[in-house]
């Protein structure tokens, strides 16, 4: 190849490479953010429209909201219902709290999953893939909110949890519960915007809200955020979960794995060589053999 040809082709390669790298950089710094939902518990009237909408969209058990008196006791989400509303009696009156997957920023369930069945999608929702899952239920053990639920009475059990209506989001729609809410308790959007709205509400009504946004920092931050009029432990939230992202708890151990995998065999081989007494004995015997008078 002559010099001109070389310059030409290298320029062509450079031209081909440059746009590719810039587009990659663009993708990295794009304004695409994890989405979430802000729940203002002071607005909720306990109508449970979200429960119905959720179950209809996900083809789950649809509760009979008018007659089942489900609010009489504190319930948990189940393999049949991805979201439920609970009623709490507090000194500021009845407070209704919706519960569902929190869609953590760094989810413990996704870090726990050995087959990447549970994943944090780049849009924000945490989803589950039944073609990969082997049903070990380690996600259930790891989740600090006890959200993933197993279908124990099925021969092909699924892990059931809220997906923030991932398919609806991809079609440009809002989660079903958000759309069904008649009181604007639920607000859907990127977390940054939701945080601004939440802070604004707390600052402008300091006597109406406690000065905390649940999910801002809990377990490293969650996609769903909560505002409340009373301390969060009074309305069924765990306040002892810490602000460390849960995958961090296993990080040090996992980092040590490759170190041990290479270091220990080397150490053991050395030990094995150093303890070769047979060789030592053989050499000693040979020594004695060559010494004059050793065989008398």
């Amino acid at each position: 190849m002559d010099r001109r040809g070389f310059l030409k082709s290298s320029a062509a390669i450079g031209a081909a490479v440059l746009p590719a790298t810039t587009s990659e950089a663009e993708a990295r710094t794009s304004d695409k953010e994890f989405v979430g939902v802000l729940v203002d518990t002071t607005r909720c009237i306990g109508c449970r429209s979200c429960e119905v909408a959720c179950s209809v969209v996900n083809k789950n058990f649809v509760p009979d909201v008018k007659t089942d008196n489900a609010l009489d006791k504190v319930r948990d989400t189940s393999e049949k219902q991805f979201t439920i509303v609970n009623r709490f009696e507090t000194d500021k009156g009845e407070i209704f709290v919706k519960k569902q997957c929190m869609h953590c920023w760094q989810p413990a369930c996704a870090a726990a999953c050995l087959v990447n069945a549970m994943v944090k999608t780049k849009e924000g929702p945490v989803t589950w893939d039944g073609d990969k899952c082997m049903g070990c239920r380690y996600c259930m053990v790891s989740c600090p909110f006890d959200i993933p639920k197993a279908e124990y009475h099925s021969t092909n059990p699924r892990i059931m949890k809220c997906t923030m209506c991932y398919e609806r989001l991809q079609a440009g729609k809002k989660p079903a519960c958000v759309e069904a809410c008649p009181t604007d308790t639920l607000m859907f959007g990127p977390k940054r915007q939701l945080m601004e709205v939440a802070r604004h509400r707390v600052y402008s009504h300091p006597d109406k809200y406690v000065h905390q946004i649940y999910g801002e920092n809990e377990v490293g931050g969650t996609g769903w955020l909560y505002l409340s009029a009373v301390p969060f432990d009074k309305i069924g939230f765990r306040t002892d979960l810490g602000t460390t992202p849960y995958p961090e708890y296993t990080r040090e151990f996992l980092i040590s794995v490759p170190l041990i995998e290479f270091g220990v065999p080397a150490f053991l081989l050395t030990l094995n060589t150093l303890t070769d007494r047979k060789k030592e004995v053989r050499e000693k015997e040979n020594d004695e053999w060559t010494q004059p008078g050793a065989d008398k």
């Binding site: 870090a111 990447n116 790891s142 197993a150 279908e151 849960y246 094995n272």
Partner: protein
């Protein structure tokens, strides 16, 4: 493995004849021997049959039909006892392999094969019991064949290491199988691989024994703070050493009674010395473990305050009653050459390890729960089935292959 076998076969023209001979020999050896109506058979056969029926039922109607698992207790007796505890108790294999093969301490050579066999069967059956517990066991190959690697998961590490270690234990035991089938060339090749498989086996044992502890690191808010510590991997690894040693003493005692006719007089005579040696090792490791626990407890004043009420009592009951007491019993027995005391201490230690693992997986797990988990009778029967089948297979191996020393 296969390639070495194939290359040796290529050099040998009569290999197909050899293969069919071994196969016929194997079929012939499959037939049962000896008396049928032994007390062990009378108890174990009905349990195994019932267990098989429960397993069939479980696959027809789901886990919920036979277990007491709930959404709050996703892991029950099959994981907590069969897998987490069973693997800890099988830790003897890597400790003895390290002692005999890496450190070349010949004193324990006579128990090497039986310990490796015990380890291999324990891994095969107890981690095999995992298949019963998986909701979608047909996807178990996913993390192995590589269509979806969850590198971030401790479970991924544990799964791979279970798999590799079971293969390594099989390779470590395989010279005995080759001797039994009288394939001398293969035995020679397998024997040469021992050091490598032992070193590999020790390394991955270290990682998956501690990995079982690391599994619970993310369950921080669910495990009672007296049992939860960031040092769980270290505690699991250390306790697997003395759990394994105590299990060797326990199994050895039974083997010497039941299979006494298979064991040579010299080995039989030396057994007390071996037991005392193992006891010494167990005493030291247990003291180290106790020291770790005490250090973790005293290091943090907040933790120290937790030692009150039922859970404080339960914690001390485990740590003093089943770690410190057997530790001193071992030490006393070694000093005064009391083999009987070693055997009692071994049973106490094994119970202590079972208690510790069940505490972390079931008892102090979700300690605040109002609906506690208790294993259903079906879960217990299936666990017994797994143990009994393992004993049957163990018996089949030791009565046919050169497992015990004939000297």
């Amino acid at each position: 493995m296969n390639t070495t076998a194939a290359s040796t076969s290529a050099a040998n023209p009569t290999v197909s004849g050899e293969f069919s001979r071994v196969f016929k020999f194997f079929l012939q050896e499959l037939k049962p021997r000896g008396k049928w109506l032994t007390p062990f058979n009378v108890i174990s056969i009905p349990v195994i049959l019932l267990g098989v029926m429960i397993v069939v039922y479980r696959f027809m109607y789901g886990l919920g039909a036979v277990t007491n698992l709930s959404q709050q207790f996703p892991w029950g007796f099959w994981i907590g006892f069969d897998v987490i505890t069973g693997v800890a108790l099988a830790g003897g294999a890597y400790v003895i392999c390290f002692t005999v093969i890496v450190m070349r301490i010949e004193k324990y050579h006579s128990i090497l094969r039986v310990t490796v066999l015990n380890g291999f069967l324990a891994y095969l059956f107890y981690s095999g019991a995992l298949l019963l517990d998986l909701g979608r066991p047909w996807h178990i190959v996913n993390p192995i064949i590589g269509n979806s690697f969850g590198y971030n998961s401790v479970m991924f590490l544990v799964a791979w290491h279970f798999f590799v270690y079971t293969v390594a234990l099989f390779l470590e035991f395989s010279p005995a199988i080759a001797e039994w089938a009288k394939v001398e060339k293969l035995r020679h090749v397998l024997h040469k691989m021992t050091l490598i498989t032992v070193i590999l086996g020790f390394t991955i044992s270290m990682l998956h024994q501690s990995g079982l502890g690391a599994l619970f690191l993310m369950a921080k808010p669910k495990i009672h703070p007296l049992w939860y510590t960031e040092y769980l991997p270290l505690l699991f690894f250390t306790s697997s050493v003395y759990a394994g040693l105590s299990m060797i003493v326990f199994e050895g005692t039974i083997s010497h009674k039941v299979f006494g006719n298979l064991i040579g007089p010299k080995t039989h005579h030396k057994h007390d010395d071996i037991v005392l040696g193992l006891a010494k090792g167990a005493a030291i490791t247990m003291f180290v473990y106790y020291f770790f626990q005490a250090f973790i407890l005293l290091h943090d004043p907040e933790r120290y305050k937790l030692v009150t009420g039922f859970w404080g009592f339960w914690y001390l009951f485990e740590l003093i009653g089943f770690v410190l007491v057997p530790c001193f019993m071992y030490a006393y027995a070694v000093r005064n050459r009391r083999v009987g005391v070693v055997k009692v201490a071994a049973i106490l230690t094994v119970l202590g390890v079972i208690l510790n693992r069940l505490n972390i997986t079931l008892i102090a797990f979700n300690w605040y729960a109002t609906n506690r988990y208790y294993p259903s009778w079906q879960e217990i029967v299936v666990t017994l089935m797994v143990v009994f089948i393992e004993v049957w297979v163990f018996r089949w191996f030791v009565t046919r292959m050169p497992v015990f020393s004939k000297e």
